[in-house]
């Protein structure tokens, strides 16, 4: 579970306000993220476009983050996304 999941102190905060964010330069569009999503979100489309997964169905379970074989996805806070712009 080390692949991009946060440490305990941040976890509660992340679960309340976090979002799955993608780094498109690492993505090879294999589709494991979409395949592992329990609510059926096509995460690959977000990842391809480098957009955070803003979808009401996202329950922040972290399955896509943990299963991406290329470390493309991370749980992030909206403000840390802003600062990378």
């Amino acid at each position: 579970m080390r692949a991009g999941l946060p440490r305990d102190g941040q976890r509660l905060h992340l679960l309340r306000r976090g979002v799955v964010a993608a780094e498109p330069g690492r993505c090879v569009q294999c589709g494991i993220c979409a395949h592992s999503c329990p609510t059926g979100i096509d995460i690959r489309r977000y990842s391809r476009a480098g957009r955070p997964v803003h979808d009401r169905r996202c329950i922040l379970c972290g399955a896509c983050v943990a299963r991406c074989p290329r470390g493309t996805l991370r749980l992030e806070l909206p403000e840390s996304l802003e600062s990378r712009r």
């Binding site: 991009g4 690492r26 090879v28 294999c30 589709g31 470390g71 712009r85």
Partner: protein, 441 residues
């Protein structure tokens, strides 16, 4: 009259070019010619199809609605000749396609083995979806597999066949895995994982012959005189750009199709992108090959825009790939050096020639049982890194490399305490990120 764009090849470079053309040109004709009849799919995803992590239907990288919006014409066929004078592409079945602009995105294909018995049923390579299907069909009725070669493709085959329940042997000509890119500690980390999982490693050996009966593989014989009974022999000794079309048309080629920084070849109105292209980098004056997916995608986009009338240079970024080898997530970025690797005749898929040239003055290393970081530092900036296992430093390091951030202020402390190098670098990265938080750009 609207423009006629013809693209040869349906990999990510060809598809990205088609999308970029359509963004600039709503009415021109865009035709993609390919040998493969399949819908556009993720080639790197084939590794996860083999391992069972992904069903085949998930490999499609565009939805039917996205494809309809592109208004492409797909032509299934074998392009045999470009008439550069008349601007026409000839296919093996006699068809001719007239073009105003042509893109060569024919990719790279794996090198065929030359040992005795290489033509037996059961001797396989992994280039496309049909190969992956064939390998899976063999795996379903087989018990034992032998893999030879190197780089990430060899281990994708090892991982996949092992995951499918086959007793898997991996034969290396050299002393260690992927010496071209990894150092000894990194190779050992991978090999230890493989052995712990039950893969049988054979070092300093190679296949002398594949033997079988009725055209079907039954065993391999090694130069050391061993005989390993097997149903499958997977070969991954490197890939080569598919240059036949370009050479027959008289285009300038070296290891790949030579292009300028705008991805134009030596023939008028003919462009090249992806694994087949050897593009000039005006920043260095060099033309390096790579087989990286992100690079093929970026080249495809730039070539597409330029075919549709733009004039944008292709800017090479530091070569980066993330791959899972023996279950270890591994990021390789920038130039990391390397040794001779008898298991690879050329590049493997997902590799860059630029990785193996190094301008590093010194190297910082940190290892534990499951993780490894190696950072190559040049005169004033970080030039390359290999990050295995824990990936928390891989993104910041990739950014430091891409932005050529000056780290020379760290140098006295690093020289005084070389063992603490990675810890100091981590603190440097965190301080930079706190700075970015405090002052959003």
């Amino acid at each position: 009259m609207s423009a006629r764009h013809v693209i040869v090849g349906s990999g990510i470079a060809g598809l990205s070019a088609a999308e970029a053309i359509r963004e600039r040109d709503a009415s021109g004709a865009v035709t993609i010619v390919s040998r493969e009849p399949h819908p556009f799919y993720s080639r790197p995803g084939l590794a996860y199809l083999l391992s069972g992590d992904l069903p085949e239907r998930r490999l499609s990288i565009r939805t039917p609605a996205e494809l309809r919006a592109l208004h492409l014409e797909r032509v299934h066929g074998d392009a045999t000749c470009i008439d550069v004078e008349r601007h026409a592409l000839h296919l093996a079945d006699g068809r001719q396609l007239a073009y105003d602009r042509l893109l060569l995105a024919t990719g790279a294909s794996s090198i065929a083995p030359t040992f005795e018995g290489a033509g037996l049923d059961g001797v396989v390579r992994l280039d496309g979806l049909d190969d992956a299907r064939r390998i899976l069909a063999h795996a379903r009725r087989g018990h034992t597999a032998v893999v030879i070669g190197g780089g990430s493709t060899a281990l994708e085959l090892v991982d996949g066949l092992h995951a499918r329940g086959l007793a898997t042997h991996y034969l290396m000509r050299g002393d260690r895995y992927w010496a071209r890119v990894l150092d000894e500690v990194e190779s050992e980390l991978v090999e230890r994982r493989l052995e712990r999982a039950g893969v049988v490693l054979h070092r300093r050996t190679e296949v002398r012959a594949a033997v079988g009966s009725a055209g079907r593989l039954e065993a391999v014989e090694t130069l050391r005189g061993e005989r390993i009974a097997c149903d499958l022999l997977a070969v991954a000794v490197g890939v080569q750009p598919m240059l036949e079309l370009a050479r027959a048309a008289g285009l300038h080629t070296a290891r790949g199709v030579l292009t300028d920084e705008f991805l134009q070849t030596s023939a008028p109105d003919v462009f090249a992108a992806g694994d087949v292209a050897q593009a000039l980098d005006p920043a260095t004056g060099e033309s390096a090959l790579d087989t990286l997916w992100a690079s093929a995608q970026a080249m495809g986009r730039t070539a597409g825009r330029n075919m549709a009338g733009a004039r944008e240079p292709h800017r090479k970024r530091p070569p980066l790939n993330v791959t899972r080898i023996a279950g270890i997530t591994t990021t390789i970025v920038g130039s990391v050096g390397g040794a001779d690797d008898p298991d690879l005749l050329t590049l493997t898929r997902g590799q860059s020639e630029r990785w193996t040239t190094s301008t590093a003055e010194w190297t910082l290393r940190q290892s534990s049982t499951d993780d490894r970081i190696r950072v190559l530092v040049g005169p004033s900036s970080i030039v390359g890194a290999v990050v295995m296992g824990d990936q928390s430093l891989s993104r910041p390091l990739a950014r430091l490399i891409a932005e050529q951030v000056d780290v020379s202020a760290l140098r006295p402390a690093l020289e005084a305490h070389p063992g603490a190098g990675i810890a100091m670098l981590t603190e440097f990265v965190h301080a930079r990120e706190r700075g970015a938080h405090a002052h959003p750009a």
